[in-house]
């Protein structure tokens, strides 16, 4: 039996908060707390954390379970294993953005070049889409826009044509980037929504598409031939994915090939 008068340890305070303390010790802890306001404050803070976590996530268990989690359906699916593989790919793909949140917890070290690059692109997007009169430096009507930006960035750029998405090229501007000059092309959609495509040298290996969305912006990222691209726009996962795919194909002058894992396919699979 525990001595009623022994000092209360921090471990015991946790056990107490989590309701695992044996009844015969509970009274001792409560007496202790009455005489140790700092400990009482900590206990109160931990309880408040528990309440906040339950308030934030508790209701998820009451949501209707989506059909893809129906176990009869999962059992029947002969392609269960490939579905797992696909899910893993898609998780990696979509979680890229989310990984930022998590990875910051896991590695508070200096940001890698890709992070820096994406950060610059998003800062430019945020800054310039809000400009009413001067969102761009050189308009699309001026023929030297693309040659000029290409020369400064040091690669042959193309301003993608995106009428299929209702997007009109407004023009572009030159920006300082983490690895040298960066080009920013700006597009405007039918309801005034703006997209930017940021392109600059990024000497890292080619990457798959990555995707990130918040309540204000969505962005797709990729690296091809040591040029990094960041497409940013309104928070619409499907739309940004389709536009990114179209840009990728135009940049690479490729026709959409069947049998290749495209952003579209990844995204439509997610939705199923």
């Amino acid at each position: 039996m525990v001595d009623q008068n022994s000092p209360v340890t921090e471990d015991e305070l946790h056990v107490y908060v989590d309701g695992e303390l044996p009844a015969d010790r509970r009274q001792a802890v409560e007496t202790w707390l009455a005489n140790h306001p700092e400990d009482a404050a900590r206990v109160a803070a931990w309880r408040a954390q528990t309440e906040a976590i339950r308030a934030r996530y508790g209701a998820v268990a009451n949501e209707p379970v989506p059909s893809r989690l129906n176990i009869v359906r999962i059992t029947r699916s002969r392609r269960s294993w490939s579905a797992v593989a696909a899910a893993a790919v898609v998780v990696a793909f979509v979680a890229g953005g989310i990984a930022g949140w998590m990875a910051r917890g896991a590695s508070a070290a200096a940001p890698n070049p890709f992070e820096l690059f994406a950060g610059e692109a998003l800062a430019a997007h945020r800054l310039y889409i809000a400009e009413v009169r001067h969102p761009i430096e050189v308009t699309a009507a001026e023929n030297h826009l693309v040659p000029w930006l290409s020369r400064r960035v040091g690669t042959t750029l193309r301003a993608p044509e995106l009428p299929d998405f209702g997007l009109r090229l407004l023009g572009g501007r030159l920006l300082p980037g983490p690895n040298g000059p960066a080009a920013l092309f700006m597009y405007e959609g039918p309801s005034g929504e703006r997209f930017t495509l940021y392109a600059s040298k990024l000497p890292t290996p080619q990457t798959a598409f990555r995707y990130s969305v918040t309540d204000r912006f969505a962005a797709a990222y990729w690296v091809e031939s040591e040029i990094g691209y960041v497409l940013s726009g309104p928070p619409d996962r499907e739309r940004i994915g389709k536009i990114a795919q179209a840009i990728y194909e135009q940049m690479e002058q490729r026709a959409p090939a069947s049998g290749r894992t495209s952003v579209d396919q990844l995204m439509s699979r997610r939705g199923s």
Binding site: Q49, I53, L69, T207, S212
Partner: protein
């Protein structure tokens, strides 16, 4: 078919845990789906015990693998709305706790959520995480210290070692 019935009954709680663990609905359901597929495939490996704890174990491991594979890839700066600090209001509290959880090391976050959200005992969490109870308790303690520091306003000064 009690095994399948038990699995099915655990799905809402698994979704809740996964949502808090990943803080993203799609990713969370991907994890749950992956967990269910594995559990159903591994029925023959299940030798009694608590199905729910076993499912938590699978999901926790899958999430750890996921984070590890993400860590090997370039990570992105999240597109944060950093224009305005959180305003007061009911939404702000939810976002604060969400951000505080995001800053925790994965093992600490999992331990805390299993205890406070899923109601597992320390012993059950120790089994899920495959560590001694003392380790669970220190994870819990560190998680709480960090969340408190974040919510008290010491936002940048996380990852401090006691």
């Amino acid at each position: 078919m009690t095994f399948r019935h038990d699995i099915e009954a655990a799905i809402p709680a698994l979704r809740r845990y996964a949502r808090a663990l990943t803080r993203d609905a799609e990713t969370a359901d991907d994890l749950v789906q992956d967990t269910l597929v594995r559990a159903l495939r591994s029925e023959h490996l299940f030798h009694g015990g608590d199905v729910r704890s076993w499912l938590y174990t699978i999901l926790t491991n899958l999430n750890r693998n996921r984070l590890r594979s993400l860590a090997r890839r370039p990570t992105l700066t999240p597109i944060e709305d950093d224009d305005a600090p959180d305003a007061a209001g009911p939404e702000a509290g939810g976002r604060d706790i969400e951000r505080a959880l995001a800053l925790l090391v994965d093992e600490q976050r999992a331990a805390l959520l299993l205890v406070v959200l899923e109601g597992l005992t320390y012993r059950e969490v120790a089994e899920v995480q495959g560590v001694p109870i003392g380790t669970v308790m220190s994870r819990l303690a560190r998680a709480r210290v960090q969340i408190k520091a974040y919510l008290d306003g010491g936002r940048p000064a996380l990852r401090r070692i006691k």
